[in-house]
């Protein structure tokens, strides 16, 4: 019944989400303004060439060299990559990072969708949206420090509470099994409000009368959520996931100021491993090879996600 309700509203949906991107491109061809355009674009173009394109190409080149930062890079072909695939610490970094991403993204997405749906159905208040966003405004470093204190083994609030209700205290950052989940949860706290606002923006694109019509047909809130909200939200959710998953793979700050990769190798995530290889061990070529792998992983994940969630096609449009 409720799906029938959706079909009837399809043509009415305002589709002003994308046209902005098209508007500028379809004007009639005329006199080229290349001279003045060059002046306008020159600073950005220099910025792009010097700090994006050039290092991008150079990054690939460094990945094929041995380079300790002091001398000049020596070309060694694919040696870094063959070494890398036999490096247990590399595989450990991949494993640990994937563990982090899974815990981080699953919790964060569930909570963000919950917050967004609650806000959507309860209140449009900017104040509440602002409060929800607060953790995102402070830096990763500050969020990490704050939770490092709250989760302290000796006198942290959380462990005090755990002890008070009769359980054993947990060495959150000091235990190999707990380090990654802990870091993941700290970053869920920081990012869930931001992600919720992204989802919320998607929810606002679903017209209210879809819900009204569903309610008329006797659909409960719960049913409406699964039959209307989730299907219509899918394209937005896909984009949000591409952004959050890509970001999640690049976790660094929290690790750098709390566990520093430890205990042992328990939280040595990819980006931290790259940093250590490049800057504490001076193996810049090897670090660059790791960057190439990270880039390939991220690009692949993004493509797979967009495919799986069929982001291109919306049920609304």
């Amino acid at each position: 019944m409720s799906t029938g309700a959706i079909e009837t509203v399809e043509p009415v949906v305002p589709s002003d989400f994308k046209p902005g991107a098209v508007r500028g491109t379809d004007k009639p061809p005329g006199r080229s303004e290349i001279g003045i355009a060059l002046i306008f674009i020159l600073p950005a173009l220099i910025g792009f060439l010097v700090f994006y394109l050039y290092p991008f190409i150079r990054g690939f080149y460094f990945s094929l060299t041995r380079y300790n930062l002091l001398g000049t890079p020596t070309f060694i072909g694919l040696d870094n990559f063959t070494r890398l695939f036999q490096d247990p610490l590399f595989w450990n970094a991949i494993l640990v990072t994937v563990e982090y991403v899974v815990i981080n993204i699953v919790l964060q997405t569930i909570l963000a969708v919950a917050i967004a749906v609650l806000m959507h159905r309860l209140t449009q208040s900017t104040v509440i949206r602002g409060l929800i966003l607060l953790p995102f405004l402070i830096s990763n470093v500050i969020a990490a420090m704050l939770w490092f204190w709250m989760l302290d083994y000796q006198i942290g609030l959380v462990n005090g509470f755990i002890a008070a209700i009769g359980f054993d205290k947990i060495p959150f950052f000091g235990d190999s099994a707990w380090a990654i989940p802990t870091i993941a949860i700290v970053n869920v706290w920081r990012h869930m409000g931001y992600t919720a606002l992204l989802v919320f923006a998607g929810l606002q694109m679903i017209p209210n009368y879809v819900y009204e019509a569903a309610a008329v047909d006797g659909s409960t809130e719960w049913k409406s959520f699964w039959r209307i909200t989730m299907p219509l939200l899918r394209p937005v959710l896909a984009l949000v996931l591409v952004i959050t998953v890509t970001g999640s793979f690049q976790v660094f700050d929290t690790v750098a100021v709390t566990t520093r990769g430890g205990p042992g190798n328990a939280s040595r995530v990819i980006q931290y491993y790259i940093y250590q290889k490049g800057f504490t061990e001076g193996q810049f070529g090897y670090a660059s090879a790791l960057c190439v792998i990270l880039f390939i992983i991220l690009a692949t994940v993004a493509v797979i996600q967009l495919r799986m969630l069929r982001a291109g096609e919306s049920d609304l449009a």
């Binding site: 902005g20 500028g24 491109t25 303004e33 003045i36 355009a37 060059l38 306008f40 674009i41 600073p43 950005a44 910025g47 792009f48 010097v50 700090f51 994006y52 290092p55 991008f56 460094f62 930062l69 909570l111 919950a114 609650l118 309860l122 900017t126 509440i128 602002g130 966003l133 607060l134 953790p135 405004l137 402070i138 830096s139 990763n140 470093v141 500050i142 420090m145 704050l146 204190w149 709250m150 006198i155 609030l157 008070a164 706290w189 869930m192 931001y194 992204l198 923006a201 998607g202 009368y209 309610a215 008329v216 984009l239 949000v240 793979f249 690049q250 660094f252 940093y275 660059s288 690009a299």
Partner: protein
């Protein structure tokens, strides 16, 4: 709409009591869940405040008290360098000098200059992409956008080499340059807004003999104050919170920014008992400028999040 409201009125008439009760219960539960989520979001901020106003020594005697233990502003005085080493040690601080004001100045310089340059130059470029006709425009724009796909660390490593070879390590130019001229996102963001501005006024100005330079500064920029301010705030927050790039090129005292200083402050404290009150005070003061900025422009920031995320 008319057909939708009619049956609902009928349904409401037949079983008004039950429906209302169920809806109310559901709403109460939903509000309860919402409030819990807001509490989880906000409580750590309170705890930060509570700790910062305590003395580190007494935190050990009463770790669970909801109010500050031995209320004092000592931690803030320590952080801001207003306490003597003896006073600091008496409250559980390390007694070592923290150059907080210097780091604050560095953060302000870095974030302000990087943001100002980026917003201005990206506005210029965005205008060229949105309004001017030139061959290859769409290809160049697409190229700029693909840069969003590359993880920042990929370009930061070679950028480090470049900055190092230019001899700009531990200088503000070294810190600022990679952000100063463009980011793909800023150009994309402003281009979207410029495309939405009505052309009629520009056409009229053109007929009056105004050139593109004049149109940009006299018409387009004044009409885009709102998105420019939004972009400025979003970029400023990002710059203020940046950690990785300053870690690579800005470790020296003279250019060390707050995020980096806090990381170092934490690693300097002995493993056994860090100066928690001092750390929380430092963290609070470091976050304060952003929080003030946010409260001043909360509505703009909040409403722009949907747009900024869904690139």
């Amino acid at each position: 709409m008319a057909t939708a409201t009619a049956p609902s009125r009928v349904a409401a008439a037949t079983e008004p009591e039950i429906t209302r009760k169920r809806i109310n219960l559901g709403r109460v539960a939903a509000w309860a869940a919402m409030i819990i989520l807001i509490l989880i979001t906000l409580f750590p901020f309170y705890w930060m405040l509570r700790t910062a106003f305590s003395t580190t020594k007494s935190l050990f005697s009463d770790p669970a008290s909801l109010l500050p233990v031995d209320f004092t502003t000592g931690a803030f005085q320590r952080v801001l360098g207003l306490a003597t080493p003896a006073e600091a040690q008496a409250e559980g601080g390390s007694g070592a000098a923290v150059n907080f004001w210097l780091y604050l100045r560095n953060s302000v310089v870095f974030a302000t200059l990087a943001t100002a340059g980026q917003v201005f130059f990206c506005a210029l470029a965005a205008y060229a992409f949105a309004r001017l006709r030139w061959p290859g425009r769409d290809i160049v724009f697409f190229l700029f956008l693909t840069a969003l796909m590359v993880p920042p660390i990929f370009t930061m490593l070679p950028n480090f080499i470049l900055i190092k070879n230019l001899g700009l390590i531990n200088t503000f130019p070294g810190l600022i340059l990679p952000y100063f001229l463009m980011t793909p996102f800023a150009i994309f963001f402003l281009r979207q807004f410029f495309l939405g501005i009505s052309r009629e006024i520009e056409e009229a100005a053109k007929l009056d003999g105004a050139g593109h330079w004049r149109i940009f500064f006299r018409i387009v920029l004044p009409m885009s104050t709102a998105p420019m301010v939004t972009l400025f705030i979003l970029t400023f927050i990002n710059m203020w919170n940046e950690y990785f790039w300053p870690l690579l090129v800005g470790g020296g005292e003279n250019v060390r920014v707050l995020t980096l200083a806090i990381g170092i402050f934490r690693s300097q404290t002995p493993q056994g008992s860090p100066d928690w009150a001092g750390l929380m005070a430092a963290v609070l003061v470091a976050a304060l400028p952003i929080l003030i900025l946010f409260f001043a422009f909360a509505k703009k920031v909040v409403n722009s999040i949907g747009f900024s995320g869904l690139k």
